[in-house]
Symmetry: C2
Subunit: 317 residues, 2 copies
């Protein structure tokens, strides 16, 4: 019979898990004590936290536990990437129902730990609490690059760029919610890209709630507006194939892309185009920053404004 | 009509909350961007994370939202205190049902933020996710003291000491679960005490799951056993009054005390007694570390072993 969490108990589970979390190069005291102790290069630190909740962000059965663990880490890697930083260490706060099969939670943590190692992240601690549904909160610490790419530095005249493609995960989630068995794409890791882009960017953000909404956050923080050429948005092939003409508006608002959206001076255009082959992903110029009240306008092939049914994702609405 | 979270939406709530979180002295980039950026004194850092889940750790109605916010912060302060460190900054990952009245969540965050300020903690970021029940995960960063007080350094012959009193919160929770309206005591803050005790301690831990269980973690990590003189355990007055003769065994296993338990060489005894008036709480010598298989034995007035119905708290059992 498969062991459930309530058979192992909190401390039984933690004791078994500790062996899968070797001390890393930033670690002075690793998991298993009251707090972890770390060495922080140059005394400056990035901190971000994000939670995946069963039912809201994922369902069990959509992907193997290990892939879910990677997802929980990578949505945080994305935030460090969007600041132009490099990840250092993470702590993982799990909530899980006592009836959850223990191997599912081991698989999740092993997937997370292996992906963490691959990306130079020490997993230095965590917590396990009983709750009605599975939820994974990762807090990620990172080392800032020379330049912090915040949301507040976009200026009128800037180009708007985006990495990778949009709409792939949004389309997969829609299909899965509709009962079709499609693979859910992995969250892309744009850490190296973010580090290369930050020195050339003015503002940068990761696209987690949809391009229109997240670029809207940049507009609000910077006091500017943005115009996006809808035809230039790099739409994921799966999304384009399935949705045809509606694919672009869907991709601009679907969310869960975890690509980087940045603004940069027009004078950086040539350097960004030359940099693109080193990013490990596409880099596409999709619009411009303009003066005016904070807003994001999507423009059609002839410059006409396109109406959107929604701006992006809000789990509370 | 009271606004609910679903009326405000995720970003509406976050926008309103940001004003309550002023940048602190460690903050380079505060809440509202992809990640916060911090200055870390001397490049060494403590990290800990802990979650309070509605139904498992608290019920709404047991205490005002602000007190719950303080509790979520303080259970983490306790972990930093148990390493002998000083808290620096925190991020707060909230899960909340969309039907939760928005003022409850504002009250919680304001209580947390005010308590954070009082204890020198910058609240530098967070996350809000929809979930079936309220849950609060705080990740706390701290500055280590000169000596890291881990769980692994207890040695045979050491005295065992504990701060404050035990059983007060455990008794209140038992009464509240039984339907009686008693006040739930605040989590004590032992940061200053921890900083003073760490240089004199060998091993130190905070008592969150019950003295017997948490001292058991020290015994396991250090490869030693512990003997506790039951009559010397400082039992909270409320617990003693209500439970009479059973109070000691209850206090030794109830959990949620958030006091510090430490072991120290017998040669430190005089210095510890002299230090006590500066700790802001009682300091009581309750037993000793002995050689042998990791175990905690509770001894009666004549040295006879006392049987316990349970060792401590495990939310999964």
């Amino acid at each position: 019979m498969k062991k459930r969490l309530r058979d192992l108990g909190e401390h039984g589970w933690i004791a078994r898990m500790l062996g899968a979390l070797p001390a890393g190069r930033h670690t002075i005291v690793g998991p298993g004590d009251d707090a972890a102790a770390l060495r922080i290069p140059r005394g400056r630190l990035l901190v971000t936290t994000d939670t995946l909740v069963e039912g809201a962000h994922f369902r069990l059965g959509w992907e193997p536990p290990a892939a879910l663990g990677r997802r929980a880490l990578r949505v945080n890697l994305s935030d460090v990437a969007a600041m132009g930083g490099s990840p250092l260490a993470a702590v993982v706060a799990l909530e899980a129902p006592p009836t959850l099969p223990a191997p599912a939670l081991f698989g999740l943590m092993r997937g997370l730990a292996a992906d963490a190692r691959r990306h130079g992240v020490d997993v230095v601690g965590g917590n396990l609490a009983a709750a009605p549904r599975l939820a994974i909160t990762v807090t990620l610490l990172g080392e800032p690059g020379r330049r912090l790419a915040t949301r507040a530095d976009a200026r009128p005249g800037d180009d708007v760029w985006v990495t990778g493609t949009l709409g792939g995960d949004g389309y997969a989630v829609r299909a899965l919610l509709g009962g079709r068995r499609v693979p859910r794409p992995a969250v892309p890791v744009r850490v190296a890209a973010g580090r290369l882009l930050a020195p050339l960017a003015r503002a940068m953000i990761d696209v987690s709630d949809g391009l229109v909404q997240d670029l809207g956050h940049v507009c609000c923080a910077s006091g500017v507006a943005a115009e996006i050429d809808a035809t230039s948005i790099p739409v994921a092939a799966s999304c384009r194939r399935a949705l045809g003409r509606g694919a672009t508006a869907f991709a601009a608002t679907a969310g869960e892309d975890y690509e980087l959206c940045l603004t940069a001076s027009v004078r950086r255009r040539v350097r960004l185009v030359r940099l693109a082959p080193r990013l490990g992903c596409r880099l596409t110029r999709i619009g411009r920053i303009v003066p005016g009240r904070p807003a994001v306008r999507l423009l059609g092939a002839h410059g006409q404004p396109l109406a959107l049914r929604r701006e992006g994702f809000d789990h509370f609405r």
